[in-house]
Symmetry: C2
Subunit: 218 residues, 2 copies
Amino acid sequence: MDENTFVKSTLNTVKRLPKRGHYDKDTIYQILDQQFICHLAWEDQGQPYMIPTAYGRREDTLYVHGSSKSRMLSALTDGRPLCLVVTLLDGLVLARSVFHHSMNYRSAVIYGHAREIEGDEKMEALRIISDQILAGRWDEVRPPNELEMKATTVLAIEIDTASAKIRTGPPGDDDADYDLPIWAGVLPMSVTYHDPIEDPAMRFKLSVSTSVSSKFKQ
Amino acid sequence: MDENTFVKSTLNTVKRLPKRGHYDKDTIYQILDQQFICHLAWEDQGQPYMIPTAYGRREDTLYVHGSSKSRMLSALTDGRPLCLVVTLLDGLVLARSVFHHSMNYRSAVIYGHAREIEGDEKMEALRIISDQILAGRWDEVRPPNELEMKATTVLAIEIDTASAKIRTGPPGDDDADYDLPIWAGVLPMSVTYHDPIEDPAMRFKLSVSTSVSSKFKQ
């Protein structure tokens, strides 16, 4: 174990199909950096709660934000344990038997706790979240004013431990099933961006901003 | 309140931006029926856990499945409270100010509890999950045998209460900001299927099966 790998404990060890489990930061952070929506769960008196929310990562810290009135944010500011999951779905794995159907995916499960941040760190965290969603957009638009900052709560999530689970490649069928005349393979999936829709309330004739057009230069 | 609407309680009431909240089954089930991956959270001694997993819906019941050795499934069979979230991301909402950036999305939050199912109900639930992922695939492939059924646990989730949250449409900016010469609008997103990749271990020259090709007839 070194500083680039999360320590395996009962909490984060992948028990099912352990070969799919990864604990090194490189693998886990690569998954985190290719998404901007996570699901975040916490508990209150035995009741689990969960919401989908945007996030950003810098180094070993994740940032989430929301309204100062949000139920999630006020619950989490006391530092209780949280679980945050990021999922990338890459395809349907279509086998010759129902049983061996699967999916290709990359998911990261983060166990940690949150603390509320303020001041410069808060503004910087909002920029990190914004950049993760759409790089460059922050610099194109009006920055948050004092009232808006007050209406926003930002949490920094320290990662206590984490794991990733990854499946790639074709289906794996039982030996005898390869003789069945059934089409098998992978149906790849990805999230795609489509043509931007201009706000009907635009008062100027403008081309789409660079942050938007850069999504289509690939 | 009638049988087509979930009762609003402290558990499921959307507090932030309550206009985005929906409690009728039609709206919630439409969201559930357009996805097949959920995030499922539960707690154990104050620690929240979460995994992404496939699901299927029939009427008022959701089904999830996994290995009989799965940590999630064995924890949930005791009927403890669970929270299941389904999220569809429809686009980035790009405003003239950082503060009014948002996303267009449809999400459903389900609070319920699970029970393990067996026999015919179990087989039928597996078919429901399979149909939700790729309609028609079940009938193209070898059905589960007795050993495979034994290695699989299937849970039925009864929905205690639920809510949906939906945002659509262009950004809403502060009045003064409409005078800023900034491109604003929506960048639509969706999950796209790409050309199927045949299993290199195929022993026959076959066209892709109907379940797969039907994904491209639109």
